[in-house]
């Protein structure tokens, strides 16, 4: 594959698509698929045939358009988006491509949800067909890889990533350029690249959406990373619970191999890179990098003390680069437009954009990509459209079980790594769950502790026993059986787990408790002193909840 050949594929794809006067895009990512979007696409195809429009109008199965709660979503080439489409609507939609749009299905696109987003990672989501490499190439795909292979040295690639200020999107926010340069300098016979696609946080589905909507972008990012650090083998560790993402990744890898973009001597250079999938088997702790490595090696996913860091001694004892799906997905655009371009977006210390999965008690649930530094209020109330059915906002939870609940008085805080950490939460992988007054924060803390307790791998005592103890106290709180003494013990345990657990799971498990104790102390107090739940959630009827 030479730059010219890539250009040729791109041109012929543009030509092929240009032959159609109209195009109708149907979202076939998991959210819309479970609302029967495939039958919508089939109905559109059948109706095109009936009209004899085969050479006139094309349907395309595309990735996530973002507004998952209103699916199935269909977009026509004049930019109109239709929501809640059923197969029966197909004829009306096809009438609409040349005439008036179907008013009762219209999804307003002039709302902040669409207007205020900045799409870098999701630029192709909802636009290209994830199962055709040609469509990705036609949207400048693999151009960054070719440029890296033909014009740049590994050092220059790393320099560009350092300049961009990109930080790990998996949660901790470690500078990506620094990680790459550590691995590239590490001595080892072989080096490995791992893509962490074991999206474990409940309430987060960004990575799944990227893999389902634009798998080639992740592969291209991994290829560039492999070239930069000198690795020849890579693994994508993906959740077995995401069958569609697995299927599309397998297809994408096969297609890239066929075109010589993956495999031995890529594009005629001495650079070789192979990617294999490894299926996760449902263990939250495998999001921790040393546990993930153990799992790729076929063992129980238990973490080990660091150092040595995986960058020095990782998979099979060799230097290993681990980044998250979204991190890799940011790499091709950075190479394409330059690190300086990327560094202009976002805040001083948090560059670029972040994809958030907005869910819970919020009007517009779905996937959004915004520049770092937007305030929580802008995300929840402008883009998210606020709280439905006239209820009052109570908290927004970021970072999953390792994060915290942020109350209303922090709504004007900018969303970046440092601000969130100062507020007692974390950026996390990007789950953002909005809660209204019908949620009890003590119950939410118990919910997360229940999660951490069952996900604790059991290797270190503070986490194994501490999460159990904390869960017991929280459970007693929700049944009004806890005393003031228990609250003190709960505080003490927060400290203990934070400071003595082996890995991130245990160290961050108290975060939901700490943040709710800090911002919603009066709710805890009501549970202990007045034996009542202000939100009306806890009490006898909560029996039997896990």
């Amino acid at each position: 594959m030479t730059p010219e050949e890539l250009e040729l594929i791109s041109e012929s794809e543009h030509e092929a698509q240009g032959q159609f006067a109209h195009r109708v895009n149907v979202c076939v990512a998991a959210g819309c698929l479970s609302c029967q979007s495939q039958s919508v696409k089939d109905a559109l195809d059948a109706d095109i045939k009936r009209r004899g429009w085969e050479k006139h109008c094309q349907t395309k199965g595309v990735g996530c358009m973002g507004l998952c709660a209103e699916g199935p979503l269909v977009q026509t080439d004049n930019g109109t988006i239709y929501q809640h489409v059923t197969a029966a609507d197909a004829p009306a939609i096809l009438d609409g491509v040349e005439g008036k749009p179907v008013t009762h299905l219209l999804c307003p696109t002039d709302i902040p949800f669409f207007q205020r987003q900045t799409k870098i990672v999701l630029e192709n989501s909802g636009v290209i067909d994830a199962e055709r490499i040609e469509d990705y190439i036609a949207s400048t795909g693999y151009g960054a890889l070719i440029r890296v292979l033909t014009e740049m040295t590994p050092g220059e690639v790393i320099q560009e990533i350092v300049k961009s200020g990109l930080r790990g999107r998996g949660g901790a926010g470690y500078p990506t350029g620094l990680k790459w340069s550590t691995v590239s300098k590490a001595a080892g016979v072989r080096k490995y690249i791992i893509c962490n696609a074991d999206e474990g946080d409940p309430g987060a589905f960004m990575d799944r959406s990227v893999l389902e909507s634009d798998p080639h972008r992740v592969i291209e990012g991994m290829l560039i990373a492999a070239f930069a650090v000198g690795a020849s083998e890579g693994f994508i560790y993906v959740r077995a619970e995401y069958p569609l993402a697995i299927k599309r990744l397998r297809t994408a890898i096969r297609q890239a191999e066929r075109l010589g973009l993956l495999g031995a001597s890529i594009c005629g250079t001495r650079f070789s890179f192979h990617i294999d999938l490894r299926l996760g088997a449902g263990a939250f702790v495998c999001g921790e990098e040393t546990a993930l490595i153990a799992s790729v090696e076929g063992k129980r996913g238990t973490p080990r003390p660091r150092p040595p860091y995986p960058a020095q001694e990782g998979l099979f004892g060799e230097p290993t680069l681990i980044n998250n799906v979204e991190t890799y997905a940011n790499v091709p655009p950075i190479i394409r437009h330059g690190g300086d371009w990327y560094a202009q977006i976002g805040t001083e210390k948090s560059k670029g954009t972040k994809v958030f999965a907005l869910a819970g008690r919020v009007q517009n649930t779905g996937l959004v990509e915004v520049p770092m530094g937007l305030t929580l209020r802008e995300i929840v109330f402008e883009i998210g459209g606020g709280i439905p059915s006239g209820k009052k906002f109570k908290a927004v939870q970021t970072g999953g079980p390792s994060g915290g609940c942020l109350p209303a008085d922090l709504l004007d805080m900018p969303v970046d790594y440092e601000s969130l950490a100062r507020a007692g939460s974390i950026m996390g992988s990007g789950g953002m769950i909005v809660m209204d007054e019908s949620s009890c924060m003590v119950d939410v803390a118990r919910y997360f502790m229940d999660f951490c307790m069952s996900e604790s791998c059991g290797k270190c005592v503070p986490c194994r026993v501490g999460t159990y103890q904390m869960h017991r106290i929280l459970k007693n709180l929700t049944t009004f059986e806890a005393s003031a003494q228990d609250l003190l013990l709960l505080n003490e345990l927060c400290d203990l787990l934070k400071n003595t657990s082996l890995c991130g799971l245990g160290q961050s498990a108290p975060n939901p408790v700490i943040s709710t104790l800090r911002s919603f102390a009066e709710e805890y107090k009501a549970h202990v002193e007045e034996r009542r739940c202000p939100a009306g959630v806890c009490g006898d009827h909560s029996e039997g909840q896990p």
Binding site: A30, S34, A69, A204, A283, R300, G301, F316, A359, Q545
Partner: protein, 172 residues
């Protein structure tokens, strides 16, 4: 197993004549018959047989030359693996955060009461298995439930009961 004219005593033979063992063998071969392929092999075995029984664990452990304790340890460490056969139908209730605050506990309560079983169990007649998931990633459709392999969104206790009734009437 016969390789050429010699018998390879190191290679265990499958527990029975079932053709599905060939799938398991193929995965082990693809990964170089090495212990690092343990999880992938268990995935294949579970996909082929629906669950992992003792025969499967013994065979995989012997083939990859790992102690049975390690195969058992891995199979029980990860939630995705199950050592018990599932019922004819499965109903998975998502307990992710978004689903939780939008009413998943009520769904679970209703099911536990109706079926008389806890999550992870199967009804006595082998009809329905009730399971919970950490998060399906269908948060936009919360609360979500997977009926057999189909994801349904914005589920109510009423809807879930209707589906169960449908399963019962179809099969009787």
């Amino acid at each position: 197993m016969v390789t050429g004219n010699t018998v390879d005593f190191n290679k265990p033979t499958p527990p029975n004549q079932d053709k599905r063992w060939r799938l398991v063998d193929a995965t082990m071969r693809r990964l170089g018959q090495q212990s690092r392929g343990l999880i992938e092999t268990l995935h294949t075995a579970q996909e082929a047989f629906g669950y992992l029984d003792e025969d499967a664990l013994r065979y995989v452990a012997a083939s990859l030359r790992v102690p049975l304790s390690r195969a058992y340890g891995v199979a029980t460490f990860y939630h995705f693996f199950t050592l018990k056969p599932a019922g004819e139908h499965t109903c998975v209730i998502c307990m992710g955060t978004a689903c939780y605050i939008k009413g998943a506990p009520q769904l679970l309560n209703a099911m536990e009461r109706d079926l008389g079983i806890s999550p992870g169990e199967t009804t006595a007649d082998g009809k329905v298995s009730l399971l919970t998931a950490r998060c399906l990633g269908s948060c936009g459709l919360a609360p979500a439930v997977v009926y057999d392999r189909d994801v349904a969104g914005k589920v109510t206790p009423q809807a879930i009961r209707e589906r169960l009734a449908e399963w019962k009437s179809h099969d009787s």
